[in-house]
Symmetry: D2
Subunit: 383 residues, 4 copies
Amino acid sequence: MTEEDDVVSPLHLTAEDRPDQPPVTAGLKDLYRDFEKALMVPLWTRIGDLMPGQPRSKAQPHLWEWKALIDLAARSGDLVPVGRGGERRAIALANPSLGGRPYATPTLWAAIQYLMPGEDAPEHRHTQNAFRFVVEGEGVWTVVEGDPVPMRRGDFLPQPGMNWHAHHNSASEPMAWIDGLDIPFQYDIEAQFFDFGRDELTEEEHATPDRSRSERLWGHPGLLPVSQLGHKEGTPLLCYRWADTDAALTDQLELEREGRPGTVGPGHALVRYTNPTTAGDVLPTIRAQFHRLVPGAETAPRRETGSSVYQVFDGSGRVTVGDFSWPVRRGDLFVVPSWQPLSIRSEASPSDSESGSLDLFQFSDAPLFSKLNLFRTHIEENA
Amino acid sequence: MTEEDDVVSPLHLTAEDRPDQPPVTAGLKDLYRDFEKALMVPLWTRIGDLMPGQPRSKAQPHLWEWKALIDLAARSGDLVPVGRGGERRAIALANPSLGGRPYATPTLWAAIQYLMPGEDAPEHRHTQNAFRFVVEGEGVWTVVEGDPVPMRRGDFLPQPGMNWHAHHNSASEPMAWIDGLDIPFQYDIEAQFFDFGRDELTEEEHATPDRSRSERLWGHPGLLPVSQLGHKEGTPLLCYRWADTDAALTDQLELEREGRPGTVGPGHALVRYTNPTTAGDVLPTIRAQFHRLVPGAETAPRRETGSSVYQVFDGSGRVTVGDFSWPVRRGDLFVVPSWQPLSIRSEASPSDSESGSLDLFQFSDAPLFSKLNLFRTHIEENA
Amino acid sequence: MTEEDDVVSPLHLTAEDRPDQPPVTAGLKDLYRDFEKALMVPLWTRIGDLMPGQPRSKAQPHLWEWKALIDLAARSGDLVPVGRGGERRAIALANPSLGGRPYATPTLWAAIQYLMPGEDAPEHRHTQNAFRFVVEGEGVWTVVEGDPVPMRRGDFLPQPGMNWHAHHNSASEPMAWIDGLDIPFQYDIEAQFFDFGRDELTEEEHATPDRSRSERLWGHPGLLPVSQLGHKEGTPLLCYRWADTDAALTDQLELEREGRPGTVGPGHALVRYTNPTTAGDVLPTIRAQFHRLVPGAETAPRRETGSSVYQVFDGSGRVTVGDFSWPVRRGDLFVVPSWQPLSIRSEASPSDSESGSLDLFQFSDAPLFSKLNLFRTHIEENA
Amino acid sequence: MTEEDDVVSPLHLTAEDRPDQPPVTAGLKDLYRDFEKALMVPLWTRIGDLMPGQPRSKAQPHLWEWKALIDLAARSGDLVPVGRGGERRAIALANPSLGGRPYATPTLWAAIQYLMPGEDAPEHRHTQNAFRFVVEGEGVWTVVEGDPVPMRRGDFLPQPGMNWHAHHNSASEPMAWIDGLDIPFQYDIEAQFFDFGRDELTEEEHATPDRSRSERLWGHPGLLPVSQLGHKEGTPLLCYRWADTDAALTDQLELEREGRPGTVGPGHALVRYTNPTTAGDVLPTIRAQFHRLVPGAETAPRRETGSSVYQVFDGSGRVTVGDFSWPVRRGDLFVVPSWQPLSIRSEASPSDSESGSLDLFQFSDAPLFSKLNLFRTHIEENA
């Protein structure tokens, strides 16, 4: 159902359009006019759009090149101040099939955020669940519930709904990163609350510690702090460091080389970020994962209900989503709509990869599907 | 954010419109043009719409009178056949603020369905969760996974996603009822699968038992059939009979008269339909409840995240939702959008009520909010 | 490991006893003596007892005839007052293999309780989970948290831990029933707390309503009272009426006759009592179920981890547990120890059954096993 | 109820013993004799023992000095072979109040296990949940489901029920460690199954890797391997390394020094070992935790339902449990019975601590209490 289709009256349907429709008699026309007056719409004229045999994505596959994004973000740094009202110097990816809305997919927001040296982004909180992922640079601390959390290349920083947060750039260089949120989803279901916080960070919040308090409490594998076990407000672990993610991926690939289980497919390591207090997805509405493909690996086309956004973290390769296919390299972002088949191939001889492989960060709306008994996947065998 | 607003370029914003926006210089105009080319949208021009202080409902409160609905449905009965392709003679309520879409609220579908004597609605299944509620009449059996379930006034019949189902009218009169589904929600998140079933029901499925097999297995209070405890596919109890609902409401009000806990407010009984295998909401995405207000009772204005549709089952009174207020009587359907305050007042001396009270059936999208840590309510105290 | 075996020193083991033991040299004897002094016990001398290949039940199968129990209980009614200190006129079944302890099985207490006309049993509460089941008679109300609950033939009345409770006999006849508790289990793990309540019931608590407040709130199938959904202290439904249990069993057997799923085996209906707020077992440590076998039905021998106590409610037949076998009739109680095979055969032409079948009430410690990943069953195919 | 008390007949009770008992008439004596014949025991003569006001521990507080344990274990190394039948060279702590049974507490087994250079302990599996904790030494690998896991000072190694396991000592020195299991609990409830495995380890299983495969898959904080998420058989993380535990404790104490939450009491850090797939206790029946007290710290007396065993890992101090009090040092093991108050004081100037503090490993049966709604704690304020 496109936006235009939404306002097509059943009066304009003809037998050619819809062979399964009743013959358009004068009586039927009257009935359809009376339906419109009564604010009623018959199912039989719309069922194919509303209830298709399988998901038809409103969004389309699309790729944004990192170079373009970072250049435009940098220009914003010069022209657009950060402060109360606008709140953040963030620029969203607008899927070309979603009518100009700032939505990467029907449920997910993805943006590049940019903070100049010495700048603060003011404190606020909202029901929208968020995270940050850093593809390059460092120098910014996100301050969550008063706890300054450093952000560096490869770090994943979840931000559960209704946590107070601000950011400060304490370095001499600008810094960019990506934000992911469930803004479109919460806009659709109308769940949003938003509160402005204090306009200024305290001296203590301007600190630049190497590790957050959150990590010191919650960042030890399998070990939980007994004093904090009553914690209930979303994940308490506010940073997943790159060194840990890198080690987990490396271990999976080594296990595969030893002939042991570990990878999800040949040459394909995959870890999921989880909330240490539940072992479930890191945010109530967002799944976040990290993929590594060894040189020359290729994944079988795989469909999944729900939509994803990927960012290439390292290396290069080729990505195919439904009818689209693009070469990709560091920083590029692309969208995989619901039920569109995705396959990824890594460069056989990457010259641009620290890990020697193709590394991708992924986030999706999979928890919606899992929690509501709607999750499905399908791998195409003979692709 | 209206549909129109969706396509407003930040280029057209002026300082008057948005005092918190940066001054519109030539450089900024260039930047905004380049954003558009790059399929990017700045947050700072849109944050107020996307992340409001509290939910702003896209839907509006609206009332459909039952008499109009049933008359139009009856006309459809004469003009529109039921069969494969159109699948059902169902006509949806289209909220006047949702652009002609057949949506009662942003997440919920509500329709009147109509079946003529001797008609069958063909078998299909879909991921959309559904239910039927009967405000008047009888004579139709809904056949779920081969089990014929009779439908009569006051009965609530859940239909979990991917259950095969058909209907047959075995009476000499037409019958109407309402259908509720999560069609808009599944359309938004793109979760839908749909399969056509057999075109004809068997003789066995055309049976007209007084009770379904489902009720015989699962309809005994607190008593579960050990042989079926592995059941996992949505609620196995396919009918909640009116006699039980009526008794539960009567009991709550009698307890209140004895000075005991039971009601949710003075003269206000409320029961929730639940899945006997989980004790949770009867469908993964839909909450269903039944209210009874004694004559002259009035509820305090109450806000809730998420949207509801109500149908008056019996009695009469007045309903106020935000800025809207209507008298209501048997069969009328009305919409309560997210976070709009609702209050209900029952007629002091109802002449038209079997129970002597105002009885209302309600369904909502509350499970989405509960499962995703987004549920909130607020009761206005001094209203 | 019998009680005697507990105190056998490894010094007394000989090579004949234990061919897998080390040769008993002077050095070994010294070592074993020094172990004893140091309060140490070697695993290798005890592993066979402590860690057997499969459970070896300390309890033995045993049958108590109802006639003997009721006669002795009646004599107690004349000789033993009910009051504070002794608390209840309850006489426990003492398994002949458990050293005179008042334990039916290693984890379960089963007793006959007896209350004379006009008597009250004083109020108390305890962490032990309890229930009452009525095989015959009526006239007693159990008063739980101030709510008088009538007790009649066939009713099952759970009593979650730490609910205040008392009983009163308001009839002109004595009444007997069985109590089941987890006294031995809580004694073993040392979880017990006990508080005395008020010595006298109020006039209101002496009431004799036909239904408890609990049933009026929680006894409607699939319908929960929204005002009470925060309830967390064990099951809120304090009575499962015989009429409902009987109907559920009848329905399962009718479904079987129609060729539909429903029974657990040929001619064998089985329902489980569950907590309506969780859909799980009715008590945290006790599972309660009700069986009905049509005339001439016989169950395949079945083993289950954990122990059960059964009471024949109606009809007659023969029960085999391991090496024991008894004819059974109304009121008889028998014990099935852990992992002992049980089979039940109903009389082909029962003259003494209201339902025409063999009806049995069962309770067990299965929730311990289910919650701790220890539950196993095995059905012997060629028995 | 002591063991002796178990066999006291109510016939021997006198009015002096039990003022709340009925007068001992000839009729009552007859009744009590007939109870005995009928295998029945009246509650009123036993209620005080069976249902005390609060838990009365059958076990007593006791301390075993490490030096004595290790010396006796070493003597066993010379005299007792390890092999099929005896299975393990493990010597259990026998609580002095538990009648010579090899039980540290009513539910928990604690033993020292000892393996000579070059020895293998043969493969088996059992329903009993187990773990190993290493207070000193290294050189042994425990081989779990074919995965060799190194054991070194400070490591905690859980062993979920029904995992195949064996051990091999590949070093030139003997090694000792402690084993904890739920043997007494499973003996009481009769849940035990035990299977012998292969008599010989393969060459691959004799490997001596620095890290287990388990740790490589599951040992990364908050990061789960997507390929293994279906894992259901107890915790898949088979080793919690000392370096992580030490860092977590150090972090908590540093946070306390900064005025931040983290410790459970002044100078008292506490971490819990958890299953990364559930965030719950590391084993279904056993909780494991690690405490660190800074020099001079003292905990308030604290009661908890259920029993614990502690081992001093480092440093020295004084421990008080109920009426018992002992100085403690590295390796000492002590028992805290149910509901007995425990307080721990660390040496003000420890000369013998690597961390500068008093470090203690603890395991308990708390999951039983938590899962069955029986867990309680109480801290004495004015102690």
